[in-house]
Amino acid sequence: MTRLTDLPPAQAKRLAELECPNFATRPWVTGPALSQRRVAIVSSAGLVVRGEDPFRGRDTDYRVIPSTTRPEQLLISHISINFDRTGFQEDWNVVFPLDRLGKLAEEGAIGSVAQTHYSFMGATDPVQMEPHVRELAGRLKQDAVDAVILTPV
């Protein structure tokens, strides 16, 4: 349960060779200096705020995580059991680095932290997620986000 190379060979091979979308375009968006950027987290850890609807299997949509969420409110509902959860149990920043982004904003390394963050369920085929991701882009723009850090598990 450590790195990819520590998994059973068949599973490591399956993950390494997982079919990925073959995109025809190479989009590239530039922006201001990091110290002026507004940063949001988009996770694929199947994160859910306690009391809200957990991911069931390979749901294609996303869950909303307000910046006011406290560590005790956040759970992982990812379907896979083949990744470590003890790091997240000790410190949510291992998966959802909201406190660290807040500190970087205080220190002026980034401009600000978004009002809202989001999570998908990473075992879902990303092609199935596409309409939800494009809809999410509109929400991010409404929040003036111009930098997204994508965090897997």
Partner: protein, 242 residues
């Protein structure tokens, strides 16, 4: 993650992905990615090490200031110091659980162990101010009993409206794991995930019970239940090679 970056960037939002599986990222060719040499489940690195975590985040975010691309895939140079076992860590002192035995006995040992771990779990909550137990929505006593009753062959109905019994079973198993692993990590020592996993899967009654449940329910007529127990209870690295 890399594919999500592609879609967001097409919509006009700059992205940088943390990558845990470099070959997948190389195949997807996202605008920007930072590969990190950490175990799956720890994209930002070691828990409770804010300085290290900030270095990871800044290394990723600084890729947004590059003027040439796409595609950028860079490697983070530091290993996770918490991947190393802590020799000071001691597993919880509970009666050893045999890996095999009558299902009823194992179910009872699972429930007894849960009670015995109660104090350690309370110490964990006091130490960290939180628990990640809660997916099933059941208190841990009921949650453990639900898993134990499945092991006893009772096939209990779902106690939660809108959630099927197999789904609640999956969430209850996740909660039992979280409860035991949090209890086992209470205290000053900093065990690695492997230390905790070795204890849970090789020594605890809960680990033995979940393995036994996986074996027993794979004979079920319910295909959905079989799928869940076969794939989403025992990690692939902990399934004996047949």
């Amino acid at each position: 993650m890399s594919a999500l970056g592609h879609y967001l960037e097409e919509e006009g939002i700059a992205t940088v992905a943390i990558s845990l599986i470099r070959p997948q990222t190389e195949n997807t060719k996202p605008p920007r990615a930072l590969w990190v040499p950490f175990e799956l489940g720890r994209p930002i690195g070691p828990p409770s090490d804010s300085a290290f975590q900030k270095r990871v985040i800044l290394a990723a975010l600084r890729l947004l200031e590059r003027e040439t691309g796409p595609v950028i895939i860079e490697d983070f140079p530091e290993d996770d110091p918490r991947a190393t076992p802590d020799p000071a860590w001691r597993s919880p002192f509970i009666p050893a659980a045999a890996a095999t035995g009558p299902a009823d006995s194992l179910a009872s040992r699972l429930e007894a162990e849960s009670v015995l771990l109660g104090d350690a779990h309370q110490r964990w909550v006091a130490q960290h101010g939180r628990t990640t137990v809660g997916l099933s929505g059941l208190p841990i006593v009921e949650c453990t009993r639900y898993v134990a009753d499945w092991l006893r062959g009772k096939a209990p109905p779902s106690p939660r409206e809108g959630f099927s019994a197999p789904l609640i079973l999956r969430f209850a198993v996740d909660d039992v794991k979280a409860y035991c692993l949090e209890a086992a990590a209470a205290g000053a020592a900093k065990p690695s995930s492997r230390q905790l996993g070795d204890w849970f899967w090789n020594e605890s009654a809960a680990g033995a019970a979940i393995r036994a449940l996986r074996e027993a329910l794979q004979a079920s007529d319910d295909d959905r239940l079989k799928l869940i127990v076969a794939n989403f209870m025992v990690p692939a690295a902990r399934v004996p090679v047949s």
